[in-house]
Symmetry: C2
Subunit: 315 residues, 2 copies
């Protein structure tokens, strides 16, 4: 079962129905939903979950599990240029978990949230009868939209835009000894920092020249294709321009790796986009263009390669 494809189908079918509710400003299918929570207060909503043996192993320390569980939906808030307000946590534990271990997991989660400047305001935990059922941890987030720019959607790229990414792409599962983070050796997919400040900077600086944005979770190829499809445009990416985390891995493997949690965005061709956000030390790289048409292709060694199917599907 390809879960993301399945979810996309389900949400595509239900989206128009959900959007008949007057409070729903943007239904499922983007990085977050947008809801008019209180007569003129548009809010971002997102749920995501991490599962043992899927998103982390039985050896992963609680600190990294908690961090990843929180950082993944935070990356979706960033993708809309929003800022997080509060979180809810729900946890399913196997029977082998003692009360002490459950308390430790919740404490760790709470501390990780505070470190990310996020209050966990409610939660639930349930044990299963199964001695070895996997740990499952779901985090729901509520966030504010950017006060001036509003939510930045993935369906508003326009032909003529340039395409950009923050940071570096690919090879997210291996530990990078040069990375500066509190858990050296954990690998980018466990230790990334959600691009909340970068997204706010872009919304502030580019304003309405910032057209479409999403985060890269399933691979640059697959996610750029989603952005193109949602916007009804074509995206062409220049392989040589992709900022690779590990150059020896090459562009085609790197754009299929996934779990980059970088921002992928398009901006009007006339916009001034710096190569580095100086105040944050984060690089921005122009990797391609938006044209009329459909699909997503990579220009690599003189060939045009369809990359809409490249990427990491949660199989």
């Amino acid at each position: 079962m390809h879960e993301n494809v399945l979810l996309s189908h389900i949400f595509a079918r239900t989206r128009s129905l959900v959007e008949t509710f007057p409070q729903v400003l943007l239904g499922p299918g983007d990085d977050c939903a947008v809801v008019d929570a209180n007569d003129g207060a548009p809010m971002l909503l997102k749920v995501d979950q991490v599962i043992e043996h899927r998103h982390f192993t039985s050896q992963t320390p609680f600190e990294l599990i908690a961090r990843k569980a929180l950082a993944r939906p935070l990356s979706d808030i960033a993708a809309m240029a929003g800022s997080p307000v509060a979180a809810l946590a729900a946890c399913v534990l196997p029977r082998r978990f003692s009360q002490d271990k459950a308390t430790e997991l919740f404490d760790t989660l709470h501390n990780a949230a505070v470190a990310l400047n996020l209050p966990i305001v409610g939660g639930d935990l349930a044990t299963t009868g199964h001695p070895d059922a996997p740990i499952a941890l779901s985090i729901s987030l509520i966030g504010k939209v950017h006060p001036r720019r509003g939510p930045v959607r993935r369906d508003s790229a326009a032909a003529g835009d340039f395409v950009y990414v923050t940071g570096t792409i690919g090879d997210t599962y291996h530990a990078d000894p040069t990375e500066q983070h509190p858990f050296p050796g954990g690998g980018h997919h466990l230790t990334f920092t959600p691009r909340l400040r970068e997204a706010a900077w872009l919304a502030e600086g580019l304003d309405n020249d910032l057209h479409a944005m999403m985060d890269i979770s399933d691979g640059l190829g697959l996610d750029a294709a989603r952005l193109a499809r949602a916007s009804g445009v074509r995206i062409e990416i220049d392989a040589d321009s992709i900022p690779l985390r590990t150059p020896s891995r090459g562009p085609r493997q790197s754009l299929a790796d996934g779990e980059d949690y970088e921002l992928l965005f398009t901006a009007a061709s006339g916009a001034t986009v710096p190569r580095t956000i100086a105040s944050l030390g984060t690089s921005i790289t122009r990797i391609g263009v938006v044209t009329q048409g459909s699909g997503c292709v990579l220009r690599h060694e003189g060939n045009l390669i369809d990359i809409a199917d490249a990427g990491w599907e949660h199989a």
Copy 2:
């Protein structure tokens, strides 16, 4: 592991810390958290989950699983006298689930939500490697507070108040052939209607005479004791006055049954509380009084019985 006790301990420890965040108006520990989502828009937040073999069986139809998963947190929104705005759904499925079955479960969930006038604006699903891991379904809700009364908390009962419940208490696991609902024979715990309209009616009609409120999920005894503890008062309940669903079951068993999902509230002694909300056909019964002191006791056949420990702990 007594999960609710464990969660209470965790939340009691973290609540004051969480409430140092300026956007958190009420941290974990009540039926919902209250968050100032957007500079003056107080919102209710709640997450709850249902797990196979715990909250439903492998024979329970998808319609009833979906309904219960949504109705439980909706009952918490009701308990604050709020109204729901939108839901997020996260689902963990065993490997035995086919794509068709997963789609069917999400469709059923979506339809159940629409029937409850609630849009599901986002979701996630993940399969485990386990062929027979239990199905786990978590629902997060965002809701509005009552526009005039605001959120009705459980910590604001006052000595001198009367104590009331809506509907009937106990025997929630057996099918009641006389009940009018779309799933005859399902048992109240699967088929109850969250008391959203009753709660709104009480907030509207009683206004500031409506002092404290919560929903009864773990048994009237245990939950009344929680309300007493949160408010720093004592509650005395008259056994003969409890409206029993099944009178032959008796008050002591009935108040320990749990999963009533009725409203338990206190109101100023001078307030006019009708015996029935005529427009809704829902009964209201005065079952006791709030006094100074602490604890929760049942006056039964001339004896005072401590009922703070009676009730259904999720063991």
